[in-house]
Point group: C2
Chain length 222, copies 2
C-alpha cells in the first residue's frame, strides 16, 4: 500500500542534567513550576487565565510566557495582577532548561508559590526538553481531533495531566473523548485526564483540585 | 508592566544549499512540489483529500506524509488511489531538504506532475527549513485564532499562500478574518489568502484555481 520510512532522530544533549538542577533549586525555594504545553491555539492562555483566577487567593503566582515573538499573551496575563514575564525564544520551537533558568532568574521567584511556564505552541519539541518543572500539563483542544496521541506520542507520554479543552465545541466537531483517553492511556497509563472548557468554565473544578493536590503532594516529597 | 527577554536563536546550517539542489532536480523532472504546513489538527490531511479529488484528473499526484509517528494520514490518502509514502521524522519537528530528497527518491517521482509534502504539524520549525518546494502553502484554522501571525511570524512570512480552514465553525469561534489577513499581509504583502472549509468544500474553487495557476506559471519559469 505505502512505505513507512524513518528519517531522523533528534538529540537533546545535556539538557536533562540542567533540568535536574533547576528542579532541585525550585524545590529548595518551595516554588512549584508547571510546564504548560499545547498546539498553537489550543487555549493555553485562556486556560491559564481561568486557572489563575481560581488560585490567586491561595498561591502567590508568577507566569513566564514563551513565544517566538510578540507579547500578546503576557499582556493578557498582566491584567490579572500576577507577576509575568514574556520570553522570546527567537525562533526556537521550545523552551529548554537553560532558557527556563534564565527566565526564572529574570522574573524573580523567591516570593512565589506557583509558577506557570506557558511553553511555545507546539506538540513536538517541548515534549523532548525537560525544563525542570514539578509537573507537565498538556492541553489538547477538541478541534484538533482525537487522533493526536497517535501522531505526537511523546507529548502524551511525558505529561502528567491532559486537559481536553474547548469541550463546548463538541457539538460541531467529531471528537471521541473515550477514544482519545484510551490512546493517551496506552502511552501513559497514569496520565490525569480532564475535559473542560476554558471559555465556559465547565470541568474546571476537577482540574483545579488536581493541581492543588499536586502542589500538596510535591511539598511533602523529599 | 513586564519584561521581554530574548533567549535563543536557532541555526539552520547548510539546509538552504541542499534545498536549492532539490528544487533544481524537481524542475528538471517537471515535478511541482508543494510544502504544506500547519499546526496539529488544522486540517492538513482533510484539505489534501479534497484538493486531490479536485485535481487527480488533471495531474499525476503523489503525497509524502510526514509525522513523528503513526501512519494515520497515509492510510487516509492511500484510499484516494494516489501514490503515497509515510515519512517518520523520529521525533524531529520538521522536514528538512535532506529528508525530503530521500523521501522523494524512496517514493519515485519521475512519472508525477504534482507532489504534496504534508509537513509535521507545527507552526515553528517547518517555517525555518526550506525543503526545495516550488511553493509553500500554510493552513491556519479558525479555532486557532486570528492572532497567530503575531506569535508565529516566520511561517506567515515564508508562505506563498495562506488557507484559512474550518470557516464553517466561525459561528462559534471569535475569529476576525480581516484582522488576520492584515496581520499576515503586514509580514508578507504578497501572500495569497483563501478562507475555506475542507469539510464542506466552501471556498475551494478559488484555492484550486490558485494552485493550477501556480503550476502553469512555474512551468514557464526558466
Amino acid at each position: 500500500m505505502f512505505d513507512v520510512y524513518e528519517t531522523k532522530v533528534r538529540v537533546t544533549a545535556d539538557n536533562d542534567k540542567e533540568a535536574a538542577r533547576v528542579r532541585t533549586e525550585l524545590k529548595e525555594k518551595n516554588v512549584f513550576l508547571v510546564n504548560l504545553m499545547a498546539s498553537p491555539g489550543a487555549g493555553k492562555t485562556t486556560t491559564l487565565v481561568r486557572t489563575i483566577e481560581a488560585l490567586k487567593d491561595t498561591y502567590r503566582i508568577g507566569v513566564m510566557e514563551a513565544d517566538t515573538d510578540s507579547a500578546v499573551d503576557a499582556e493578557t496575563i498582566a491584567k490579572l495582577g500576577v507577576r509575568v514575564i514574556q520570553l522570546h525564544t527567537g525562533g526556537s520551537c521550545h523552551m529548554d532548561a537553560d532558557m527556563t533558568e534564565r527566565g526564572l532568574a529574570k522574573m524573580g521567584v523567591e516570593d512565589l508559590d506557583l509558577v506557570f511556564l506557558e511553553n511555545v505552541g507546539n506538540l513536538v519539541c517541548p515534549a523532548e526538553f525537560d525544563v525542570g518543572a514539578a509537573r507537565k500539563v498538556m492541553i489538547l483542544s477538541v478541534p484538533e481531533g482525537d487522533d493526536k496521541p497517535l501522531k505526537y506520542p511523546l507529548m502524551f507520554t511525558v505529561s502528567d495531566c491532559l486537559l481536553i479543552n474547548k469541550i463546548d465545541t463538541k457539538v460541531i466537531f467529531d471528537f471521541d473523548e473515550e477514544a482519545c483517553l484510551q490512546r493517551a492511556r496506552a502511552l501513559n497509563p497514569n496520565i490525569a485526564f480532564f475535559p473542560l472548557s476554558a471559555k465556559t468554565g465547565e470541568g474546571f473544578d476537577a482540574w483545579i483540585q488536581w493541581l492543588k493536590d499536586a502542589v500538596e503532594q510535591w511539598r511533602k516529597e523529599a
